[in-house]
Amino acid sequence: MVRLDVNGSMVDLDIDPRMPLLWALRDFLGLTGTKYGCGRAFCGACTVHIDGEAARSCSIMVEDARKAKDIRTIEGVFDGELKDVAFAVRDAWRQRNVVQCGYCQSGQIMSAIILLSKTPDPTDLDIKFGMEGNICRCGTYQRISDAIKQAARALREKRR
């Protein structure tokens, strides 16, 4: 039995502890917002938050994720500690019509939330490096970058 703290709830799973977190989330908990893209941490489609850091769930064994105090998927990020940033990012994504196929966008959004939580006023360069690990095959990068800046502005105004 493996016990994980996912989206604010403790869950017990009867699975091989070597299973990547991605498949535990998807195949056992039905949290399908986290996507499989490459299985080798090249693309970032499987990005989740582990204790406030962006993590590639395809390459983290459940055994290691067990130590985490807080695992957040896109389904839970709007209720978590970073929910203000999460809503700002989500709304900016919608206003800018960022998505195309949308398959990578959960991961993009999860990475963007961490970027903004650590760098509230990102430069273009911060965005390029912060989002380097997330591939979008549809090529929506320009709008992702714009949306991150827009979310940063919205959060700034809120803080005032």
Binding site: G30, T32, G33, R40, E75, R90, F129, C136, R137, G139
Partner: protein
């Protein structure tokens, strides 16, 4: 709950009673290469409830759902088609929703007899999304649907309120008469039951458009669910809900590492299962041999993937492709030595022959001549969502859930593979119907339905449900003419008895190594200027490529569609699209297409199809000739483009990019390219920063300025998004992406060695849309999903050639893709 509004009145009898008064002409042209489709195709206004639902429970508001016949794979089609309906129905944009249509083969649909099966693409006459046809084929139909529904709702309200219909207006989903107003939903049920389709459907004039072409972007209809994790892709379907999650088996297939190899006859599924069970336990449920490889059935995805890694198979390589990439190019090069006179009959197709190119080139001076060989590798589509498909038993038959791009083909193949039904002779040759006597053909069609075909057709219809899911990209991969994914999924489902739900999963490695690539292509071009440098004296163009119509299922309606649209003289016309139908005026023009020997590497269309290589060849040669001519790249092209619309796109990009005033900085280069494809004109200017060529091949594509003529841009923001995205999509194939073979084995496997464009490489993209002239009727929309893709490579290639000069080098064009350039890390 939303109630479906259904007509109780047959459609056919109405047509018969009014002798064809419902027939409206609508031309659906496809491209300069496919002239037969310029002929008018008659489009019936379908009963609106096939394409839209009005939510009856929303008492105080109006919710209208588009039932979208096309696959949403990121191109924005649900937003586009909903715009057309909302425009004519006069509902507010935030009242629109969408769902993806169930595949339908029979024209008998919800008690109605229709002129065609309801969700067919009016260009292909199959249900299919592709060829950048969606908006243009549905442009008239969807507006008619909205307008017909509006007229019927008004007629019903007029009856209930006892007021003249002409005094009733519709606005933001409300029916309005004087001070009285009610939501559409109040009348929807009665209108669809009581009201006949209007005898005349009047569409809005352009000045009355609120949504079509609106400069304020409409919110994408698929945006909400795709930004909070709730959007359901095919990959998510079997695992989201516990009811299916706990019983579905994941299947991965271990396929041979060379194309054409087979499962060895000595293979024992039982022994393999026993050894996998010993290692992994009972999470591995079964092992079966399929035509495509060895299927492993496991209780969850990771177990299936891990179990496959443990397999060691000695494949039967008897019919496998043994060659390497270089061997295949060598073969192509050898073919070019042949001429139609010397070669075996049927091995060369003279796709174009105007004047006498050979004589003109022989007479041209060497200093006025350019010539080059161009090589293009296999390319994988690499959609972010790897291909996958769920097959689950239902009381009637099966439900197939996938990102289906050609639902008609998928459904027929499932019927054949799962139930052994003969799926030929079910549907008449619709392509003939479209161009011959329509009514007569349609009557025969309906007559046939009463015969034996109807039984099979209804068996197919009843047994198989195609559940089209959102697709995480496709770029052509989900629309193969063999339905390779659905076929394999059906085989896997059948092999374990058909009573277990299975989810066939392809990993990223399966995707990159699984074939169905953009084919390897070689071009050889020799072209020369006239002595006065004003025009092109001669152009001889040779091409070799495997036909993308090789891996095709044998179903008659598929064969018919391909034969009529894509094949000429036994050759695949898509290979020469963009060359044969070039918009440039070229005297003495010869295009020869060569047929290589068969190879078992499966190939298919890849976003922009033949244009993905032909535009690069045409536009780099044009650039070389432009420099030779001394006229410069814009003037030279302009002078050879007889059509005003073509020149207008070039002029726009010239102006918007401020081409004339660029500083000549060291390392900076500019290049232009223009191409016509899928009815759309695209010109791009690329600005690159080239590293010192003595220190390696390093380039940053800094900026792309694009001008596009799409006729009418239904959603300008989506048109822009498609251009921006096309640049991001194409860039990695310009810089580095290629699938290569060594002794038949694919050398790439994942995003490390087949790496899509990353954010830091993305140039700034500016998109300018040519407005449809106001003094003319609005031009019909043309394609946008594909047309920007082919323009990216030549614009960048021409810019690199230009940048070389700034480093004091001789101007030199790159003729082979990918360029194998890297992009420097950004500096602070």
């Amino acid at each position: 709950m939303s109630a479906l509004v259904t007509s109780r009145r047959g459609f056919l009898c109405k047509v018969a009673a009014t002798s064809g008064v419902f027939m409206l002409g609508a031309s659906v042209p496809i491209s300069r290469a496919q002239p037969q489709l310029h002929e008018p195709l008659r489009v019936f206004p379908y009963h609106p409830d096939i394409f839209l639902k009005i939510d009856l429970d929303a008492a105080n508001d109006t919710r209208v759902t588009l039932i979208c016949k096309h696959l949403e794979m990121g191109q924005g089609v649900v937003t586009g088609l909903a715009t057309l309906i909302a425009e004519e129905l006069d509902v507010a944009w935030n009242q629109m929703k969408f769902e993806l249509a169930e595949a339908a083969l029979s024209p008998r649909f919800r008690d109605q007899l229709l002129p065609l099966p309801p969700y067919v693409n009016l260009v292909y006459l199959l249900q299919a999304t592709g060829g950048s046809t969606s908006t243009r084929e549905a442009w008239t139909q969807m507006r008619q649907v909205g307008a017909a529904a509006r007229a019927m709702l008004i007629a019903e309200a007029a009856k209930q309120w006892s007021v003249p219909a002409a005094e009733i207006n519709v606005k933001d989903g409300k029916i309005i008469h004087g001070a009285k107003q009610q939501p559409l939903a109040k009348f929807a049920k009665d209108a669809m039951r009581n009201q006949l389709l209007p005898t005349e459907i009047k569409l809005k004039e352009r000045p009355d458009w609120r949504l079509i072409g609106a400069s304020e972007p409409l919110r994408r209809l698929d945006s909400e669910d795709k930004t909070d994790g709730t959007a359901q892709f095919a990959f998510d379907y079997p695992r989201r809900d516990a009811s299916l999650r706990d019983r579905v088996l994941t299947v991965v297939v271990c396929r041979p590492n060379k194309f054409g190899a087979r499962v060895p006859s000595s293979f024992s599924a039982g022994e393999t299962l026993a050894s996998l069970r010993k290692k992994f336990g009972d999470v591995v449920v079964d092992v079966k041999s399929l035509p495509s490889g060895i299927a492993i059935y496991a209780k969850h995805t990771w177990a299936a993937i891990e179990a496959r890694k443990a397999l060691k198979i000695d494949w039967d390589y008897g019919e496998a492709e043994p060659r390497s990439t270089e061997d295949i190019f060598e073969e192509y090069r050898g073919l070019f030595a042949e001429t139609p006179a010397s070669a075996e009959p049927g091995s060369i197709w003279q796709a174009e022959n105007v004047g006498n190119a050979t004589a003109a080139l022989a007479g041209a001076k060497e200093e006025n001549t350019v010539h080059a060989d161009f090589m293009f590798p296999f390319l994988a589509h690499a959609p972010m969502e790897p291909l996958n498909c769920t097959v689950e038993p239902t009381p009637e038959g099966v439900k197939i859930s996938s990102g289906c791009q050609m639902q008609t083909v998928d459904k027929l193949i499932a019927a054949r593979e799962l139930f052994g039904l003969n799926v030929n002779n079910l549907v008449p040759d619709l392509h003939d119907l479209s161009t011959r006597k329509w009514m007569e053909g349609a009557r025969n069609f309906f007559g046939n339905l009463l015969g034996s075909a109807e039984n099979v057709l209804s068996a197919v219809q009843n047994k198989i449900t195609i559940n089209t899911m959102l697709a995480g990209g496709s770029f052509g991969r989900r629309g193969t003419l063999s339905s390779d994914l659905i076929t394999e999924a059906c085989h896997a489902a059948k092999a374990i008895g058909g009573r277990t739900a299975i989810h066939l999963v392809r990993t990223r490695e399966d995707d990159i190594q699984g074939g169905f690539y953009r084919p390897m292509v070689m071009h050889r071009v020799r072209a020369a200027l006239t002595p006065d440098h004003r025009s092109i004296a001669g152009w001889r163009h040779q091409l070799a490529s495997k036909s993308i119509f090789t891996e095709v299922t044998s179903i008659d309606i598929v064969d018919d569609a391909i034969r009529k649209i894509y094949i000429e003289g036994g050759f695949d016309k898509s290979t020469v699209e963009g060359v044969k139908d070039t918009p440039y005026a070229i005297e003495n023009f010869e295009v020869l297409q060569y047929k290589p020997r068969p190879t078992s590497v499966p190939v298919t269309w890849w976003r922009s199809v033949g244009n993905s290589h032909t535009a690069f060849v045409m536009e780099t040669i044009m650039d070389e000739l432009a420099v030779l001519s001394g006229k410069g790249p814009f003037q030279f092209r302009r002078d050879l483009l007889p059509q005003e619309r073509d020149r207008a796109v070039l002029d726009r990009v010239y102006k918007e990019s401020q081409w004339a005033t660029w500083p000549k900085d060291k390392g900076r280069g500019h290049g232009v390219a223009f191409h016509f494809s899928f009815e759309t004109r695209v010109a791009m200017v690329a600005e690159v920063i080239l590293g010192d060529p003595d220190k390696g091949k390093v380039v940053k594509v800094d900026r792309i300025v694009a001008a596009v003529d799409v006729g009418t841009a239904v959603n300008p923001d989506i048109v822009k998004a498609q251009v921006e995205g096309a640049v991001g999509f194409a860039l990695s194939s310009v810089l580095r992406n290629q699938i290569t073979l060594r002794d038949g084995v694919v050398q790439q496997s994942n995003f490390d060695d087949y790496e899509p464009t990353r954010m830091r490489e993305m140039p700034q993209v500016e998109v300018h849309i040519i407005e449809s002239p106001e003094n003319e009727p609005p031009r019909p929309p043309t394609g946008i999903g594909e047309p920007p893709v082919p323009v990216v490579a030549p614009a960048i290639g021409n810019a690199i050639a230009d940048a070389l000069v700034s480093w004091g080098r001789k101007r030199e064009w790159l003729h082979t893709l990918p360029f194998n350039y890297t992009t420097p890390l950004p500096e602070a």
